[in-house]
């Protein structure tokens, strides 16, 4: 698949922004470190959505994310925007029977974690907190004719936990962190039973139709987990390289059940600002 990124002006703009941040190469003048992070990577998606196909679809879209992280002695806050773009298809797909969807995912999230001093023994530090996440997943499946767009939009309030530890690697002190997140309460928007909007009504209200097909769900009907294992390796100027393995999964137990899983291998540069 041809990568959409080389010609994307926004991406190059973000890279340029990181390069010109004046504080990026200065030593710490602020008491609490703040980081701007840009990451790219490969992902693997597996999707079971009856609005798309009776078959599960899988594929490897490209992933990108931008994050702002602020660390204080007893808390971490992180605002991030991430997106995946690529193709998913069925294992039965052939050149003449594409069985494919173009897949878009965009996630906006804000996470706040407090350090658990009682459990932060020696080198293993624990945090707990919450996360708000706006997850948008859109699948464009041309062979489904009028039902060519399927989507899964979830606004979730999540419980999060994180553990961190430091160790020496190549004579540098690196940080290994794992963050796990569970959706406690979510508002989910799905297509209608037919995956069709009321296009034969000239005055149809698309947004209202979508909201009518939405519902509030708790963890038992929308179980899922987001996991991020990351290794932060210090480079010049208190900046960091970040290698992350992201895994997430959800099972939507509503009308037309959805199972979705994502694995992402991301490499990012985290610039101290």
């Amino acid at each position: 698949m041809k990568s959409p990124f080389p010609a994307h002006p926004l991406l190059w703009g973000l890279i340029a922004l990181l390069g010109i941040i004046p504080g990026a190469y200065t030593q710490d003048a602020r008491p609490f470190p703040r980081y701007l992070e840009l990451g790219l990577g490969a992902t693997f998606h597996r999707l079971q959505d009856p609005a798309v196909s009776p078959m599960p679809y899988s594929g490897g879209p490209l992933g990108i994310y931008l994050a702002f992280e602020k660390r204080k002695p007893h808390s971490i806050s992180r605002l991030s925007l991430g997106g995946d773009l690529g193709k998913l298809n069925s294992k039965n797909a052939t050149e003449l029977r594409p069985m494919a969807s173009t897949y878009f995912q965009a996630d906006l999230s804000y996470q706040y974690l407090r350090r658990l001093t009682g459990r932060s023994a020696s080198r293993l530090i624990w945090f707990v907190g919450g996360r708000y996440r706006w997850h948008n997943s859109i699948r464009v499946t041309p062979q489904n004719d009028t039902g060519f767009i399927s989507f899964f939009i979830a606004n979730s309030i999540n419980a999060s936990t994180r553990m961190e530890t430091d160790f020496q690697l190549f004579e540098r002190e690196v940080k290994l962190g794992w963050t796990g997140t569970l959706p406690l309460l979510s508002h989910v928007i799905r297509p209608s039973y037919l995956n069709l909007y009321n296009y034969i009504d000239p005055e149809h209200d698309w947004l209202n139709e979508r909201l009518q097909d939405s519902e509030w769900l708790t963890l038992n009907r929308f179980p899922g987990l987001q996991s991020r294992l990351e290794l932060s390796y210090p480079i010049a100027g208190e900046n960091q390289l970040r290698f992350a393995y992201e895994w997430e999964f959800y099972h939507y137990d509503g009308q037309r059940r959805v199972n979705a899983a994502r694995h992402g291998f991301m490499i990012g540069i985290s610039v101290r600002i």
Binding site: R46, Q48, S53, P54, M55, P56, S90, K91, N92, A93, T94, L96, R97, P98, M99, Q143, N144, D145, T146, G147, F148, M163, T165, F167, L176, W178, S192, Y193, L194, N195, L196, N198, Y199, I200, D201, P202, E203, H204, P223, L225, S227, L229, Y245, W247, F249, H251, N259, A261, H263
Partner: protein, 328 residues
């Protein structure tokens, strides 16, 4: 060691998603049949209206599905089964064939574009997708497919061109449909005021009676009007979005339908695919006019007219002639 334990624990966690994913359907003739039959069973809208015993269809066809069937054999069986629904919006698509029910079969043809071009259109223009001319002080538009976009600029131009004429003929014969939005755009230029055009229910569950609440659709005038008095020409090949256009025109007293009954296609088509990659469509809604008439089998014209042998021999389109008489 501690780090290895942490990483191992995380890696173990990653594989638990598999427990939630159900097994994928097999790509076998039996499974493809089951999915096609069941999808229609749960989502097709017209079983009761067409008095089709779909369970009986299963009893008749399921025993004929064999594990060692070839693809052409399976295709033949599927299309034979789908034929029972007699629905042009039910189709099956593969790289080697496309099935659809020929809804126009047996009806008079009632249209010949090159005949019209030779005998009526004269020095016609093609404004966007709209072939147009003036015949005997009457504006004329032939719109061949609702897939072809209609732009507001095109309609503004035509409103100017046709201003002051006796009326307008919109010819949608042989228009097999497309995007209804193009029909709305055209219809808004013909409407006299906001009117109730039709009512629709959609399937919203697997049981036969699972439908949404009725949605009453209205259409209001917008933009510069094309004409006060309008005739819409239809034939049996007018289908789908063409059928909906004819249906909405019935609501407006300044519009008269002349020609043959439209071919139908009154259910919104929905698409899906089978495990073997064949795609299929089916009708998933029911629409009726304000007087309760269901438009699945077409919309009746206000004035029935057909082509005649005599007319053709005299280079006359008898349907168009009727429209011109009506507008004089």
């Amino acid at each position: 060691m501690k780090y290895i334990t942490i990483i191992t624990a995380c890696m173990l966690l990653f594989s638990c998603e598999k427990a939630f994913f159900g097994p994928a359907p097999e790509n076998s003739p039996e499974e493809n049949f089951e999915i096609l039959w069941k999808t229609l069973d749960e989502r097709y809208a017209f079983f009761e209206y067409k008095n089709v015993d779909w369970d009986g269809v299963y009893q008749a066809f399921r025993p004929r599905v064999k594990a060692d069937m070839t693809e052409p054999e399976l295709w033949g069986l599927f299309t034979e089964m789908l034929d029972i629904l007699q629905d042009g919006h039910v189709n099956l698509r593969s790289e080697f064939d496309t099935y659809f029910y020929p809804w126009y079969e047996g009806a008079p043809e009632n249209f010949d574009r090159f005949f019209l071009e030779k005998n009526y259109w004269g020095d016609f223009e093609i404004t966007g997708s709209l072939f147009n001319t003036i015949i005997d002080s009457v504006g004329y538009i032939w719109y061949g497919s609702f897939n072809a976009p209609i732009r507001e600029e095109d309609l503004d131009y035509l409103a100017g061109k046709f201003a002051g004429l006796k009326g307008l003929i919109i010819d949608i014969r042989n228009n097999e449909g497309g995007n209804p939005e193009n029909g709305f755009r055209l219809a808004r230029r013909l409407a006299d005021k906001r009117r109730h055009i039709y009512t629709t229910i959609y399937k919203d569950g697997p049981e036969r009676g699972d439908f949404t609440e009725p949605d009453e659709a209205f259409l209001a005038p917008e933009g510069r009007r094309l004409a006060d008095k309008v005739v819409v020409l239809t034939n049996r090949t007018t289908y789908s979005a063409g059928n909906f256009f004819a249906a909405m025109m019935k609501a407006f007293p300044n519009v008269t339908l002349i020609g043959d009954r439209t071919g139908g296609g009154g259910g919104a088509p929905v698409g899906w695919e089978l495990p073997n990659g064949w795609a299929f469509n089916f009708s998933a809604s029911i629409t009726w006019l304000p007087d309760g008439f269901i438009i699945e089998h077409g919309v009746e014209p206000d004035i029935r007219a057909d082509w005649t042998e005599e007319g053709r021999a005299a280079d006359k389109d008898t349907i168009l002639e009727e429209a011109l008489r009506w507008l004089q």
